[in-house]
């Protein structure tokens, strides 16, 4: 199948190095301590953060740092063909774990000993890159909750199809069977905290693809910073400062 046509355009009309449209909104769930909706093209996820609060299950309490927990769930209507999936299948358990580890790496957990932070992400629409969208939404929700973080974590994926590196794969490109590199970075500290790839890729091509994904992460980080600053400005304005 042809994923990049001779004019250099992808199936959805993007250029190989172009990202889908980003949209973000802070404060979607009234009851949560922090929440955000994050959209990458047709992928749409909602994240809510509860905490820091008292540990619910005493046996999980950690005496010198906060306990970070994460649950990932997909709405029945999020995928093209409707399926009723049981909760806690292997895929969602794995993604929950990935998100938890990524977020744990950036939260200053030692400042909140014996407490618990819950991150819940719900996929409303899935069109490739849900992992990345979930991490980006979780970052925004954590920042909204005012939880101290080392840096914002952002994530983006990149692939390699028709011997062209492609940024931010959608569902069709993702299921084409080519390599899919998902990267999560701490943009200001310039550190990679998440790196996953399936399928195989020559090492020098891999470096290019990964570099592309990192660039994508940085672009997302800039966008998230803008959204956060704009939100803070709005709040200040409403407070009458």
């Amino acid at each position: 199948m042809e994923f990049v046509n001779p004019e250099g355009l992808r199936l959805d009309g993007r250029r190989p190095l172009e990202m889908r449209q980003l949209r973000a909104q802070i404060g979607a769930v009234a009851k949560a301590d922090g929440s955000a909706v994050f959209e990458m093209g047709n992928t749409k996820v909602i994240a809510a953060v509860y905490g820091p609060r008292e540990v619910q299950n005493r046996s999980q309490q950690i005496n010198d740092q906060a306990l970070v927990r994460c649950e990932y769930s997909m709405a029945n209507f999020s995928t093209g063909d409707r399926r009723r999936k049981p909760k806690g299948d292997r895929r969602s358990t794995e993604i929950s774990l990935v998100i938890r580890q990524t977020m744990e790496a950036c939260i200053l957990t030692h400042l909140m000993p014996r407490s618990q932070i819950d991150i819940y992400v719900q996929v409303l629409q899935a069109d490739g890159g849900t992992r990345s969208a979930c991490i980006n939404a979780a970052t925004l929700a954590l920042a909204d909750a005012g939880i101290p973080m080392r840096d914002l974590v952002t994530s983006c994926s990149a692939g390699f199809l028709n011997s062209t590196p492609l940024l931010d794969l959608n569902y069709v490109e993702d299921s084409a069977g080519g390599p899919d590199v998902t990267v999560g970075i701490l943009p200001k500290l310039d550190k990679v905290t998440l790196l996953q790839m399936d399928a195989k890729l020559p090492i020098d091509t891999f470096e290019n693809v990964m570099q592309l994904a990192v660039e994508g992460c940085k672009a997302i980080a800039n966008y998230i910073r803008e959204v956060l600053l704009e939100n803070t400005k709005q709040l200040e304005y409403r407070r009458g400062l």
Partner: protein, 287 residues
């Protein structure tokens, strides 16, 4: 669960007694309702409803299937509700299952009528493509995103809005198939048929707190309830379904009183919803 102090409980109950609730509403007023349709592009129809801080999404997906052998002239509709842990940490893991099932069953009872399909808000015979062979299966999914009480009414309203937003492709059945053979079908990409949603009822839940009952209770008010009665009523004023929750017993005369109040309120709610839905559809068309 909402943790309330004694003083807060008294305050809520006192407010209800005096017909002035803690957010300034009267006993029989709803919180502001906002409707957005077409929020899930993959679905045949979808809607998001916000009532105060409660927010739900409903989506309708249609698939071709075989009608039930006992009812060859009717399509099938099923309703599932999911409570996202995003709305309440309590719904984590399997924690939301009980409430999800309770809501799904209550919605099925209120909107789909009895087992025979009689009295359903949706005309099931309109879902038939070829009698006894092909029909549309409608899957209605509800998702609770933010919960601040009155989930049932919100889900009912969202499903009503999602169904008015639904377009089902017109299907041509190839002639010539006979006997038990499954006929060939041709699904149109351009022509869609809309549902007649005027018969779909709305759900009004009356929550009894102390001696009085209120509509559209917030979760704080719900924590103080003794019992609640959900009535689904259509535009003609007919009662389509009824369910009572809560442990306390109710006097039969109180129940009939509640039903007549619910009927009165449902008229306003239907008008309000219909205007919101058509405004939302107009917004969507402009986009």
């Amino acid at each position: 669960m909402v943790g309330l102090s004694l003083g807060e409980k008294h305050f809520i109950q006192g407010g209800i007694d005096q017909n002035l609730r803690s957010d300034g509403r009267k006993r029989d007023t709803y919180r502001p309702i906002s409707v957005e349709t077409g929020v899930i592009p993959q679905a045949n129809g979808s809607a998001r409803i916000r009532i105060g801080a409660t927010e739900v999404i409903a989506s309708v997906k249609a698939e071709l299937g075989r009608p039930n052998a006992l009812q060859p002239d009717k399509g099938k509709v099923s309703i599932f509700v999911d409570c996202s842990p995003v709305a309440e940490p309590m719904f984590e893991g399997r924690g939301g299952e009980e409430l999800s099932t309770e809501l799904s069953v209550a919605l099925q009872r209120c909107l789909l009528g009895g087992k025979s399909g009689a009295g359903a808000g949706i005309d099931l015979s309109s879902l038939i493509v070829a009698e006894g062979k092909i029909c549309w299966d409608l899957y209605i999914d509800g998702l609770v995103i933010s919960s601040d009480g009155n989930l049932l009414d919100a889900l009912g309203a969202a499903i009503k809005a999602a169904l008015s937003n639904t377009g089902i492709p017109r299907v041509q059945v190839a002639a010539g198939a006979s006997g038990d053979e499954q006929p060939e079908v041709d699904i149109s990409d351009e022509e869609f048929m809309q549902f007649d949603t005027s018969g779909i009822p709305v759900i009004v839940t009356l929550t009894k707190v102390g001696r009085h009952y209120i509509v559209d209770a917030t979760s704080e008010e719900e924590s103080q309830m003794s019992s609640a009665v959900s009535v689904s009523i259509n535009r003609k004023g007919h009662i389509c379904g009824l369910s009572k929750r809560g442990s306390a017993g109710l006097d039969p005369s109180v129940i009939s009183d509640m039903i007549s109040v619910a009927r009165h309120i449902s008229e306003q709610l239907i008008n309000k919803l219909d205007s919101e839905i058509s405004a939302a559809e107009a917004d969507e068309d402009e986009m």
